[in-house]
């Protein structure tokens, strides 16, 4: 139970999901990737609009708690997280409304190397 006196500190501290892992990141900025084309009925943070799409790694964000497991009480299972850029045309085809891109934070198991 969080006592009233600790509330301000708790809010100022937050609950970081960053974790240390033994493995090195599989990808680096500039790498071309393709997201998995999967439709799990369980919790995932890969939106449907970005499944099975080509993107580019923009940054490595460290290893973070993995919601797909953590959301089902299976432990934190942290994985490397990446900032990935998807050109609007890659996501929406000719229906995109002008030069643009969508950026997502994606865990390593959502990604496969492309080319």
């Amino acid at each position: 139970m969080l006592p009233k006196e600790m509330v301000a500190t708790a809010i100022a501290t937050g609950a970081s999901t960053l974790r240390e892992v033994d493995t090195k990141p599989c990808f680096k900025p500039g790498d071309e990737v393709r997201t998995v084309n999967d439709s799990p009925a369980t919790h995932t943070r890969l939106p449907r609009y970005a499944a099975g799409k080509n993107g580019t790694i923009v940054a490595c964000e460290g290893a973070h708690v993995f919601p797909d497991k953590h959301g089902h009480g299976r432990g934190e299972c942290p994985e490397h997280l990446y900032r990935v850029r998807f050109d609007s045309a890659a996501l929406w085809g000719s229906s995109n409304d002008g030069p643009g891109a969508v950026y997502l934070s994606l865990w390593e198991s959502y990604l496969q190397a492309e080319e």
Binding site: M1, L2, S39, P40, T42, H43, R48, V65
Partner: protein
Amino acid sequence: MHSIADMGGMQGFGPVVRNDDEPLFKAEWEETTFAVNLLLLAAGCFNIDESRHSMERMAPLEYLKTSYFEHWLHSLEDLLIAKGIVTREEYDARLAQLAVKGSDL
């Protein structure tokens, strides 16, 4: 899951309606829901990923008809009962008690 919550790119929702004068919380129950949710997360009753998954499992019509804090309220009921922190009977009994008390809320 490809739930109703996974709505990026869905078409047909119409214009973004803004109300620049709205208060942070529209009613006291929203404040309480917000705070209770954070406190129960802090107490380790459930984690934020379980909470999000609970919300995305709401029936689509309910999800679209209800507000952000009603989604949070749904996930509190869902998780506390699913995890046995509160039983359905206890919860229903408390609801009935409070309903009788009426405006003492």
